[in-house]
Structures are given as C-alpha cells and as structure tokens.
C-alpha cells in the first residue's frame, strides 16, 4: 500500500515543528534564522509559508509518476513502491535536469559547494521503510500533517471537505495534479496564494517525453535502412555508368 501525507492548512498553527523535525532527520542546521526563511532551499527541505494568519507547507510532493525520476539520465531519482521518491547521491552527476523539469520546482542544489548534490525531501524513505511515520508528521502537534496510506488519507480528506464545506476550498491538491502526488493538501484559501499552480496538467508529465522517445527504435531502423538504400541506389547508378563506359553522374 502506497504511503502519503495529508496536510490540512486549516489545522496548522504555524509552529514550524515540522521544519525542525525535518532538519534533524536530514542532518541540517536549524535555528531562528533558518526558521525565518520563507522558501525551500538546500538546507530547508520543507517550509511553512505564512500569509496573514494563514499557513501552507511546501515539501516534495513525491509524485505518483515523478517527472524528476523520468528525466534523471542516471536513475538517481526513483519512485519507491512505498511512496517516497528517493535520491541516490552516488549516481548524480549534477546535470540539474530534475530541477528544470520538476513542475513544483522542488529539487534544490548545493550551489556553494565545490562538489554539490541535489537536496530534496524524500518523504523520510528510511523511516517509512522501517514502519515509522515521517519526521514532520511525528513532530506535528495538531495533526495538520498526517502520515498514512494514501488511499485512506484521500478518503479522509474528502470526508473533511464534505463535513465542513464552508471551511475549505473544494479541492484536494495532489489528487490529480500531474497524475497525482503522494502529498495531499487542503486549504481554506486558494492554493495559488502560496505558489501552488492550479493550471497544471492532470496528466503525468513523463508521458510528454515518452511519447517521443518511444518512436526512436522505429526511427533508427527505418532511417538506417532508407539511408543504406539511397546509398546503394546512387552507388549502383555510378557503377552501371562506369561499366557502360559513360562518365560518372555526379548530379543528384
């Protein structure tokens, strides 16, 4: 059963304990200065955005069919059956195509290092594999961030929307976006306000390139045979001309 995270912004009190838990799990420094930063970065893999009295988390959405994993030329990024999208630093050569391609612009780079790596939330894949919940969910005192089976979380999200329709925007972000994501979001204010694109494709993006890539075997076969054939024809024409004692035709 694939795991997921349900974040309900209406339950969030902006305490940022999830940020702290995340930093600890990932071995990243965390203090008041880091807490004040309002964007994801290579040293802040999740952030609680604040706007007036509203909050919204940003973290890797751990897509069901992740764009980053499809574009990575060395397979450093992988979708695991358990749900997390993991990153293998020993494979990464630093082309940064994942950063360009990610529809949520999640992967961040260690720009200040001479030998940098990509950093992103991997939904605590080691903890999840060990049967524990993610660090952020464990740290959350109000239940705004909840870890569990994605299907169960989705059912619960629908229930919350139905139970208190006035309290929520009637949309579960992550159900259909780019083919669905492991992270599901609920909010009382438009998702756009916090930079979540709502005009995003509901189709998994890897299809866009796969459609083209899948033609390559045909293209190579047909192309090579056609070129070989043209060579044979033009060459043959000259051979015949030579045999008949005429000058070689050099016109096309």
């Amino acid at each position: 059963m694939s795991k997921g995270i349900l974040y309900d912004a209406t339950l969030c009190i902006g305490c940022k304990l999830c940020e702290k838990g995340c930093a600890e799990r990932n071995g990243l420094p965390y203090d008041d200065n880091v807490a004040a930063e309002q964007k994801q970065s290579e040293h802040k893999l999740t952030v609680v955005l604040t706007k007036n009295d509203k909050f919204m988390r940003r973290l890797c959405m751990n897509c069901e069919d992740p764009t980053c994993a499809s574009v990575c030329p060395v397979g450093a990024l992988q979708k695991t059956a358990a749900g997390p999208v993991t990153y293998d630093p020993s494979r990464c050569m630093g082309c940064r195509y994942c950063m360009l391609a990610c529809p949520f612009s999640v992967p961040k780079y260690e720009w200040s290092k001479a030998l940098p790596l990509v950093r992103k939330c991997d939904m605590c894949s080691d903890r999840v594999a060990a049967g524990k919940q993610t660090a952020c969910a464990e740290a959350c005192p109000t239940g705004a961030t909840k870890f569990g089976d994605r299907d169960a979380l989705l059912a619960e999200a629908k229930e919350r929307l139905a139970k208190s329709p006035d309290q929520y925007i009637q949309h579960i972000y992550g159900v259909n976006e780019v083919g669905g994501t492991a992270v599901l979001l609920l909010s009382s204010v438009p998702f756009d306000d916090f930079g979540y694109k709502t005009d995003i494709s509901t189709e998994a993006l890897p299809l866009l390139t796969y459609r083209v890539l899948s033609h390559i075997p045909d293209l190579v076969t047909i192309g090579a045979v056609a070129l070989g054939g043209i060579w044979w024809l033009t060459n043959r024409k000259n051979e015949v001309a030579a045999a008949e004692g005429r000058p070689e035709s050099s016109k096309p």
């Binding site: 050569m93 630093g94 043209i230």
Partner: protein, 392 residues
C-alpha cells in the same frame, strides 16, 4: 596567420583566455554558486543554452555534408567535407569541455553510460553525443592516417566510411531533435512562443539549416584567412538548398504558432515579444528575403551575409528556448556572470585556434583524393571563377 605579429584578435584571445583561466579556478575551487549566476530558480544558464545547445547545433554541418557526399553521392562537395567534419568534431569536443564546467560533478560525466534510464531524454542525448563524437573521431581519423602515411589504416577507414556516415546521420537526427525534446517536459514553465509539441521537429530542421549556413560561413572564413579558393559553384548550391530548408522550417514554425493560437501574444509587447521578433527576423525573414534575390544568392558576399544572419537567428532561437522563455516562470531574469561569459568565449576562441592549427598541419584542404577536377570545369561554366575574399 602564425607570424608572431600582435594583432587585435590575438590580444582579444589572450585577454579572454586569461579571464577564463581565472574563472576556471573560481569554478572548480568555489563551486557553481560563486562562479555563475545560476540559482535554484534558474538552474540552466549560458553554458547549457549556448555552449551545449548552440554548440551541438553549430556542429550540424558534419552530418548534413557527409550525408550529401557519401549517401546521396554528391561528389562535387567532397573538397569541403574535411573542414566541415573537422568543425563538427571540434564542436562536439568543446561541448564536452563545456559540460565539464556545467555539471556539478563533471568527473561523473560517464555515469549515463553505465547507469541507465531509458525514459530520460537526457540519457538519450548523452548516449548519442558520446557515440557521435566517436563516429566523428573515426571520420576525422582519415586525415590523421593520411598525414602520417598509414596506408593500411587509410584503406581500413575507407571500408567502414559508409556505415560510419549512416550511423552519424542517425545519431545526429536523434540528438539534434532530442535537444528540443528536453523541453517537452516543461509545458508550464516554457513560454508559449517556444513550447510546442513540435520542438524536436523544429530543432532538427533548424540543425539542417545551421549545418548548411555553417558550411558557407566556414568556407568563406577559410577563403579569407587561409587564402583558399572559395568553391563558388558549391556555395551557390548550398545557398539554394539553405533557402529551401529555411522555407520548410518557416512554414512549420508559423503553422505551429497559428495552430496553437499564440501569435496574438505579440500585441502584448514586452521582453519576450522583442526577442521572439528578433529571432523570427534573423531565422526566417532576413535570410529568406536575401536568398530569394538571385544576385545576392549568386554572390559570395550575399551568401556570407545570409548565412551569418541565419546562424545568429538560430543561436537566438536556442537562447530563447533555454533562457528567455524560462524567465517568466522562474520569476526572475538571468544574465550570465563574467565568469560564464569568459569561459564561453574562451571555448569558442579555442575552437578557432585549434581549427587554424589543424588547417596548418593536417591535410584538411586541397586533398584531391578521388575528386575529379570538376570544380574548375564548373567554375568556368558558371562564368567567373571568383577567387573571392569576403567582405563581412
């Protein structure tokens, strides 16, 4: 050329190389953050947009001309195959150099060859570029073998030349188009002027245009600087072909823009619109208009001008896809740092330098292997044997 004189361009090259040397130290000692204007919001900049995307494109003459000569048997073009293959070979080697700067961990550049992900366009590009650079080195090996009189190897190379050329054309078709496919994955990030499902088709067609334009450009430059006779009858034919392919490209480009209904965005004006209009003018309007005029098409200066405009146009196109079109969604402008610019200029300068050295020490021009003295005959028939020195 190499008389030890201090000329303007040599001073420029020296300054660029010095700056690039310092930039190189910065890049490898202090990382990409200190040495570039790249950021999380803008992860690909000049080194990808120009050095890689334009570098590969500008090297497209290699597959275009080898296909014409070896597959379509247009033997007249044989005298200009070697300089074109040299340009392509150098181009690809320099792309690899640029990648070593741009990749966060360049020493892992070989990883895609052993760690596969066939779903990735980048994986396919990595393989094609590796294989095609190998093909080019084998095509170019003929020159080295001949220079050192390795007759056996010369014969051996001739035996495999047709399969090599076919492989080269296929590999080029794949990765020239795939550089466009790289951007198919960002429908929400790339500006609608440039995001289209036809990106791979447009990239491929424009690579052919650039391959032809580059052949004219490089022959003209060689005529000017190495005192070689410009083969006007060949240049005219390439010019005519360029006109046709540019026409096809333009029809496809506009058909796509109209069908997606984005041309009305031009009326909004602004930054993207200006660069889009510049691109269209340089890629399509200006060179096509010039080449349509017989007097221009038949003259060395006219062909040179049209090819330079065309090259500038498609460089603008690639930079628009890689940089201009991505700025709005990134929410910020990107302009390369001096370090990025100096490394790029040094790579270009280095290319010119190695080309000049190769022309001096290797049998690049004037090798008459198999080619009949058709050229003189055709020049005479065409009228004037213009021993031309181009006025840029």
């Amino acid at each position: 050329m190499f008389k030890g004189k201090i000329t303007f361009w040599r001073v420029v090259l020296a300054v660029v190389l010095l700056l690039a040397g310092y930039a190189t130290v910065l890049r490898f000692a202090r990382g990409l953050g200190a040495s570039t204007n790249l950021s999380d919001a803008f992860p690909w900049g000049l080194w990808i947009g120009f050095d890689v995307m334009c570098g590969v494109m500008l090297a497209a003459g290699g597959f275009t001309l080898t296909a014409a000569v070896y597959i379509f048997n247009l033997k007249n073009f044989k005298p200009i195959v070697r300089p074109t293959v040299l340009t392509a070979f150098l181009g690809y080697l320099l792309v690899v150099v640029a990648l070593l700067y741009d990749l966060g961990r360049g020493y892992r550049i070989w990883h895609p060859l052993v760690m596969w992900n066939p779903r990735s366009v980048m994986f396919e590009v990595a393989w094609c570029v590796t294989l095609y650079t190998t093909v080019l080195s084998l095509e170019f090996a003929a020159v080295i073998f001949e220079r050192f009189h390795l007759e056996k190897l010369v014969r051996l190379q001739k035996m495999i030349v047709i399969p090599l050329v076919i492989a080269g054309v296929m590999l080029s078709t794949l990765h020239q188009s795939s550089l466009g496919s790289l951007y198919l994955i960002v429908p929400n990030k790339l500006h609608p002027f440039w995001y289209t499902p036809l990106l791979p088709v447009l990239f491929f067609l424009s690579a052919i245009c650039v391959g032809l334009a580059m052949t004219i450009f490089e022959s003209s430059m060689s005529a000017k600087h190495f005192g070689k006779q410009l083969e006007m009858h060949l240049m005219r034919r390439i010019g005519r072909t360029l006109l046709v392919v540019l026409g096809i490209y333009t029809v496809v480009r506009f058909q796509d823009l109209l069908q997606r209904g984005v041309l009305h965005l031009v009326s909004k004006g602004g930054y993207e619109v200006n660069l889009f209009l510049l691109e269209i003018f340089l890629c399509s309007v200006a060179p096509i208009a010039l080449l349509m005029i017989p007097r221009v098409r038949e003259s060395a200066g006219g062909l040179y001008l049209a090819s330079v405009l065309c090259l500038l146009g498609f460089v603008t196109n690639r930079m628009n896809v890689a940089i201009t079109g991505m700025e709005a969604s990134a929410g910020q402008r990107y302009f390369p740092k001096w370090t990025e610019i100096s490394v790029t200029l040094a790579i270009v300068g280095f290319g010119f330098l190695v080309f000049a050295l190769a022309v001096r020490y290797l049998p690049i021009f004037g090798h008459q292997e198999e080619s009949q003295p058709i050229s003189q005959f055709e020049v005479a028939r065409d009228g004037s044997p213009e021993l031309l020195h181009v006025r840029p």
